[in-house]
C-alpha cells in the first residue's frame, strides 16, 4: 500500500520513479531524497551499493577512498574505466556513478577512514556531519569501528570471494508503514453499534423467500448479494443466542458454525449455491476471533519512550503514546486499537458494499479523531505547538497501529570489542549448537571475524594476498578464529565448515568476485532504503550470503 500518490496525470519525476513510488510512495521518496550517504571504499561492492541508491534518487553521496585506480579494478568494478587508470578512485567512481542520475548530487574525498577520523572529526559528529548514513566496505580496522557515532545508521559490508555479509547498526528504528499483506481488521467479535445495527437491518427478512414483489421477502438476487461480513455478524448473533451468549471459540465450534451458515444457504438457485455464503464460510477460521494487539505493537506501546516524552521526542512516540492512551481509556478504545478501516472485496451490490465500507471507514476516522485529540493534549502538555503533527500522519499511524515495529539495534562495541557482551556470546554459541550447525552460515561469520582481526593487525593487508604467505596466513587466520571462539565461550573449536571457510577466505586473498559484489550491492541497498524510508522491515542485525550454496542466514549478533 503506497502512502500517497497524486491522483492526476504524473509529472516527469513521477514518470521516472513510477515503479518505485508504487512501493514506498511520496513519503518514502521524500525521505530518500534528503539522505546523504557516505561510502568508505570505492571497491566494486561499494560502487554497486551506491548505484542501487543513486538510481532511485537518494539526495547526495560522497565517495571516500585514498587509492589510485589500477588495472585490477577494471576487471571487477563497472564504475571505473580505462581513462581512470592512475587517477584517484574516489574521484573517478564519483564521476561515473554520478552519470547514473542527474537528480543526485555526487561528491568525493580522497582520503581514508582512519585518517579522516583524526583530521576531520566533525565528519563523524552527529551534530556537524553532513552525512546521514555511513556505508563501510571492508577492510576497516576494528578500533575505529568502536569510535563510530551510534546516532548515525551504519552499514558494515564484507565481500570476499563467494561470501558477503552486512551488519546494520542504527539508533532505535521505528516503522509505521511495515507493508503487511493486509491491514484488514474486521472486528466480527467486537462489533460497534453502527455495525451491529447495520447487520440487523440488512438481515431482518433474510430467511423469508420472496414470492412476489413487495411481499416483504428477500429475492434470490438480494439474498445472494448480502455481503459476507453481514452474514457472519448475523449468524454469530444467532449462535450466541443458542450458546449461552458465547461466540464460537474452539476449532470444533468454528466447524459447527460453518455448518450453521451452510444450512442457511439457498440451494434452489442457479448453480446450486451462493457465492456470498461460500465466502462467509471460507472466512470463518481466519476472521472469527477476538481483536488482539500484536506483540510487536505491544513492544512499541510498552517502550519507555512512550512513557517519558520530552520536548524533543519524535512524532512516532507521541502518536504511539496517544494510541496507548486511546487503548487504555474506557471511553475511547477500551482495550482495542484504533480501527484500520479497510475491508476486503466481496460479493455484493455496489451500494450495499459501499455502505458497509463506509461504516468501517467512519469508525476508523472517528477513532483517529480521538487519537488526534490525545496527540494535541500531549503536545500542549509538552509546550509544543499542538498542531505540529498533521492529521494525515496520525491517520496513517492509526491505520497501521497493529503492525508497528521498533528495532533496537545492538551497538557495534557489544559485538566487536575484545570482550563481546553476553548476548553476542549466546547468539553465536546458539547458532553453533543448533540442529543445522553443520551447514550454518555462522561459520562464514566466524571466518569473517578472523578476517576482521587479521586486517586490523596487518593494517589492511588481506590474508592470502600473495602465494608466499598463503600457508602462514591460513595458520594465523585459524589462530584468530579459535581465539574469537574462545572469547565467545565456545570450547569445541572450529568445525569442518569453519575450517573450510577459513581456507575459502584466504584463497580469495581479499579479492572480490563481481557477481558477489553486485549481489551485495543489492542486499545492502535494499536494507539502506528500508532504513531511510522507514518502510518495510530491515534486517536485525546481520545477514550472511553464501554464493556457493546460494543461501542466506540472518542473526542478531
Amino acid at each position: 500500500m503506497a502512502s500517497s500518490i497524486p491522483s492526476g496525470a504524473p509529472g516527469s519525476r513521477e514518470k521516472k520513479y513510477d515503479r518505485q513510488l508504487r512501493l514506498w510512495g511520496a513519503n518514502g521518496q521524500n525521505k530518500l531524497e534528503t539522505a546523504h550517504i557516505a561510502l568508505f571504499n570505492a571497491s566494486a561492492t561499494g560502487c554497486e551499493i551506491l548505484k542501487n541508491l543513486i538510481l532511485p534518487c537518494i539526495g547526495q553521496f560522497t565517495v571516500i577512498d585514498d587509492k589510485l585506480v589500477e588495472e585490477a579494478d577494471l576487471g571487477v568494478n563497472f564504475f571505473l574505466d580505462e581513462d581512470s587508470l592512475g587517477k584517484p578512485r574516489a574521484e573517478r567512481a564519483a564521476a561515473l556513478l554520478g552519470e547514473l542520475n542527474p537528480d543526485v548530487m555526487g561528491n568525493y574525498i580522497i582520503d581514508n577512514f582512519s585518517n579522516l577520523l583524526s583530521t576531520k572529526p566533525e565528519l563523524f559528529e552527529p551534530l556537524t556531519t553532513p552525512f546521514t548514513h555511513f556505508v563501510l566496505v571492508s577492510p576497516f580496522p576494528t578500533p575505529l569501528l568502536l569510535l563510530l557515532p551510534p546516532e548515525i545508521p551504519t552499514f558494515l559490508v564484507y565481500s570476499l570471494g563467494f561470501t558477503t555479509s552486512l551488519r546494520v547498526s542504527a539508533p532505535i528504528h521505528t516503522i509505521v508503514e511495515t507493508h503487511p499483506d493486509s491491514l484488514t481488521d474486521l472486528r466480527l467479535l467486537n462489533p460497534w453499534s453502527e455495525l451491529s445495527s447495520m447487520a440487523t437491518e440488512r438481515t431482518t427478512n433474510l430467511e423469508i423467500q420472496q414470492k412476489v414483489d413487495g411481499d416483504g421477502g428477500m429475492s434470490d438476487h438480494e439474498h445472494g448479494h448480502v455481503p459476507y461480513l453481514i452474514l457472519l455478524l448475523k449468524y454469530l448473533e444467532d449462535w450466541k443466542q443458542s450458546h449461552g451468549g458465547n461466540y464460537p471459540a474452539t476449532y470444533k465450534e468454528k466447524g459447527e458454525f460453518k455448518v450453521l451458515i451452510q444450512d442457511n444457504m439457498r440451494t434452489n438457485v442457479p448453480g446450486g449455491s451462493e457465492e456470498n455464503y461460500e465466502e462467509a464460510i471460507a472466512a470463518v477460521l481466519k476472521n472469527v476471533r477476538e481483536a488482539e494487539v500484536s506483540s510487536e505493537t505491544k513492544e512499541v506501546l510498552n517502550d519507555t519512550k512512550c512513557a517519558n516524552l520530552t520536548l524533543e521526542t519524535d512524532n512516532f512516540w507521541i502518536i504511539a503514546r496517544a494510541v496507548k492512551d486511546f487503548l487504555e481509556n474506557p471511553e475511547q478504545g477500551n482495550g482495542l486499537l484504533p480501527l484500520s478501516g479497510g475491508i476486503p472485496d466481496m460479493k455484493a451490490e455496489s451500494n450495499g458494499y459501499v455502505d458497509l465500507q463506509n461504516v468501517y471507514k467512519y469508525k476508523a476516522r472517528y477513532d483517529a479523531s480521538l487519537v488526534e485529540k490525545n496527540v494535541r493534549t500531549i503536545l500542549s502538555s509538552l509546550n509544543r505547538d499542538p498542531s505540529s503533527i498533521p492529521l494525515d500522519e496520525i491517520e496513517l499511524f492509526c491505520r497501521h497501529s497493529n503492525f508497528l515495529r521498533r528495532i533496537l539495534y545492538r551497538p557495534l562495541p557489544a559485538e566487536f570489542s575484545t570482550l563481546p557482551d553476553e548476548h553476542h556470546k549466546k547468539a553465536v554459541c546458539a547458532a553453533l549448537s543448533s540442529w543445522d550447525a553443520d551447514t550454518s552460515l555462522i561459520h562464514d561469520y566466524i571466518a569473517l571475524r578472523a578476517y576482521q582481526s587479521f586486517v586490523t593487525e596487518t593494517d589492511g593487508r588481506a590474508p592470502g594476498d600473495t602465494d608466499e604467505t598463503l600457508e602462514v596466513d591460513t595458520a594465523e587466520m585459524t589462530r584468530l578464529a579459535e581465539l574469537y571462539l574462545k572469547e565467545v565461550g565456545w570450547s569445541t573449536g572450529l568445525g569442518e565448515r569453519g575450517k573450510n571457510m577459513i581456507r575459502e577466505v584466504v584463497r580469495t586473498g581479499g579479492g572480490e568476485l563481481h557477481n558477489i559484489a553486485s549481489l551485495a550491492g543489492g542486499i545492502v541497498a535494499q536494507e539502506v532504503i528500508k532504513i531511510i524510508t522507514q518502510q518495510y522491515v530491515p534486517v536485525n542485525n546481520t545477514i550472511v550470503f553464501d554464493g556457493i550454496s546460494s543461501r542466506t542466514g540472518t542473526y542478531e549478533l
Binding site: 500518490i5 497524486p6 491522483s7 492526476g8 496525470a9 504524473p10 516527469s12 514518470k15 521516472k16 513510477d18 515503479r19 518505485q20 513510488l21 508504487r22 512501493l23 548505484k51 542501487n52 538510481l55 532511485p56 534518487c57 577494471l74 576487471g75 563497472f78 574505466d81 580505462e82 552519470e99 547514473l100 511495515t178 472485496d345 466481496m346 455484493a348 451490490e349 455496489s350 451500494n351 458494499y353 459501499v354 568476485l513 563481481h514 557477481n515 558477489i516 553486485s518 549481489l519 550491492g521 543489492g522 542486499i523 541497498a525 535494499q526 532504503i529 518495510y536 522491515v537 530491515p538 534486517v539 536485525n540 554464493g547 556457493i548 550454496s549 546460494s550 543461501r551 542466506t552 540472518t554
Partner: protein, 379 residues
C-alpha cells in the same frame, strides 16, 4: 552465451557477464527504452529514450569493459529457431512475461537430443517483484523446467464480467470497466494503446466518472495505469540481487568451480531478509518435459465447446484459442477460416460422439509454445 531480456534484470546481467569474463555474448530484446525504465536500467540515459534496449545496452557495456564482444538483436525471441539457439553454451533470461519464459523453456527442452550432449543448454531464469525475487537453474529434461512450476504463479483472478458491467465495488472495477467495456463501446475498432498517455487519460476520466456514480473512492491516474498495464513494482536493488545470483550460477556452471544451484532460490526482502533455497521437483506428466500424454477426466456428455471451456480453467494449461486434433480427425480449428468453418459444427457435438474414452487429443494454441497431449478419459 545468450542473454534474453535487456531490461531491469538484463542490464545487470549484461554487466555481470562481461565482468565475469564472458567474451562472446548475444543479447535479445524487443523493447525500446521508456522513461520509467531509468530508475533501475542503469545502462540507459534520458537521451536514449525511444531507442532499442538491446543495442544501447550492448554498446554501453562494450565501451566500458574492454575485450568483450556483444551482439545485440532487437526483436522477439520467437523470431529465432533451434539453429540459432544451438550455437550457445547457456541461456540466461531476465524476461518480464510468462509467455516468453514458457516459449524459451519449451524450445530448449525440445532441442535436447539424448545422443548429443551439446544439445542440452542450461537455462537460468530470474524474476522480481518489489523487494522479492527468484532465480533458478533449469537443466532441460534432466530436472524441473519452467512449465513444471507454472502452478506456483499466483493466478490473476479475473473479475466477473457482471461485476464490471453492473455492480462495481472497487476502483479497479471501474478502471477495468473503462478499458474492457467502455473503450470498445465508444471507440469501436480503434485499438487501445496502453503506452499512449492520452488513452490512459481517457480511461482515467471514464473510470473516475463511473466511480463517482457509484460512490467509490480511490481511482487515480497512477492506479489506472497500473491496472491497465499490469505494472509490477521494480527497483534496482532487487534486480541486482537476482541478476547477480543468476550470473553467479552461470559462472559456476561454465567453470565447474563449485556446485551450482539445485535449483531454485527465493529472496524475500519485505520483512527482514529471508531466502528459501530448494530443489523444485520435476512434475510428473509435465506437458513440456514429461514427454507423456497426461490424463484428463471429462464427462462423455460434455459438448466439445464445454470441454474447451474446462481446459481454459486449468491454471497449468493457460490456453486462449486452441486447435484440437486426434489421430483420426480434426476436432476443432481456431483458424484458418476454411478449417474453422469445417470444424465449427463439432463444438456442439458431445465428446462421446467424437472420441473414445482414453483417446489422445493434441492441443495447440497461440499461448502454448508446444503441443499439449491429453488422454481424455470419460468418467
Amino acid at each position: 552465451m545468450l542473454q534474453s531480456g535487456a531490461g531491469g534484470l538484463g542490464c545487470e546481467i549484461l554487466k555481470n557477464l562481461a565482468l565475469s569474463g564472458f567474451k562472446d555474448i548475444h543479447v535479445i530484446d524487443m523493447d525500446t527504452i521508456d522513461v520509467s525504465n531509468l530508475n533501475r536500467q542503469f545502462l540507459f540515459r534520458q537521451a536514449d529514450v525511444g531507442k532499442p534496449k538491446a543495442t544501447v545496452a550492448a554498446e554501453f557495456v562494450m565501451k566500458r569493459v574492454k575485450g568483450v564482444k556483444i551482439t545485440p538483436y532487437y526483436g522477439a525471441i520467437q523470431d529465432k529457431g533451434p539453429d540459432y539457439y544451438m550455437q550457445f553454451q547457456l541461456v540466461i533470461c531476465g524476461l518480464d512475461s510468462v509467455e516468453a519464459r514458457r516459449w524459451i523453456n519449451a524450445t530448449l527442452v525440445e532441442m535436447v537430443d539424448p545422443q548429443n550432449p551439446e544439445s542440452l543448454k542450461p537455462l537460468i531464469d530470474g524474476g522480481t517483484e518489489g523487494f522479492k525475487g527468484q532465480s533458478r537453474v533449469i537443466l532441460p529434461t534432466l530436472g524441473s523446467c519452467y512449465e513444471c512450476s507454472l502452478d506456483m504463479l499466483t493466478p490473476r483472478t479475473a473479475v466477473p464480467m457482471c461485476t464490471l458491467a453492473s455492480i462495481p465495488r472497487q476502483p479497479a472495477h471501474c478502471i477495468e470497466w473503462a478499458s474492457i467495456l467502455e473503450w470498445p463501446r465508444v471507440m469501436g475498432d480503434k485499438k487501445l494503446d496502453n503506452d499512449d498517455p492520452e488513452h490512459i487519460q481517457w480511461l482515467y476520466e471514464k473510470a473516475l466518472e463511473r466511480a463517482r456514480e457509484f460512490n467509490i473512492s480511490g481511482v487515480t491516474y497512477s492506479m489506472t495505469q497500473g491496472v491497465v498495464k499490469n505494472i509490477i513494482p521494480a527497483i534496482a536493488s532487487t534486480n541486482a540481487i537476482i541478476a547477480a545470483s543468476c550470473c553467479n550460477e552461470a559462472l559456476k556452471i561454465v567453470t565447474s568451480s563449485n556446485p551450482y544451484l539445485n535449483n531454485y532460490m527465493m529472496y524475500i526482502g519485505d520483512e527482514g531478509v529471508y531466502t528459501h533455497t530448494f530443489a523444485h521437483e520435476q512434475k510428473d506428466g509435465c506437458p513440456v518435459c514429461g514427454n507423456m500424454a497426461t490424463d484428463f477426466h471429462a464427462k462423455a456428455d460434455w459438448t466439445l465447446d464445454e470441454f474447451i471451456e474446462r481446459l481454459k480453467e486449468k491454471p497449468d494449461v493457460q490456453i486462449k484459442k486452441p486447435t484440437l486434433t486426434t489421430e483420426r480427425r480434426k476436432l476443432y480449428y481456431a483458424g484458418p477460416p476454411q478449417l474453422n468453418e469445417l470444424t465449427k459444427p463439432n463444438l456442439d457435438k458431445r465428446l462421446k460422439d467424437l472420441l473414445d474414452s482414453g483417446e489422445e487429443v493434441a492441443i495447440t494454441d497461440p499461448g502454448l509454445p508446444f503441443s499439449l497431449r491429453l488422454n481424455v478419459i470419460f468418467s
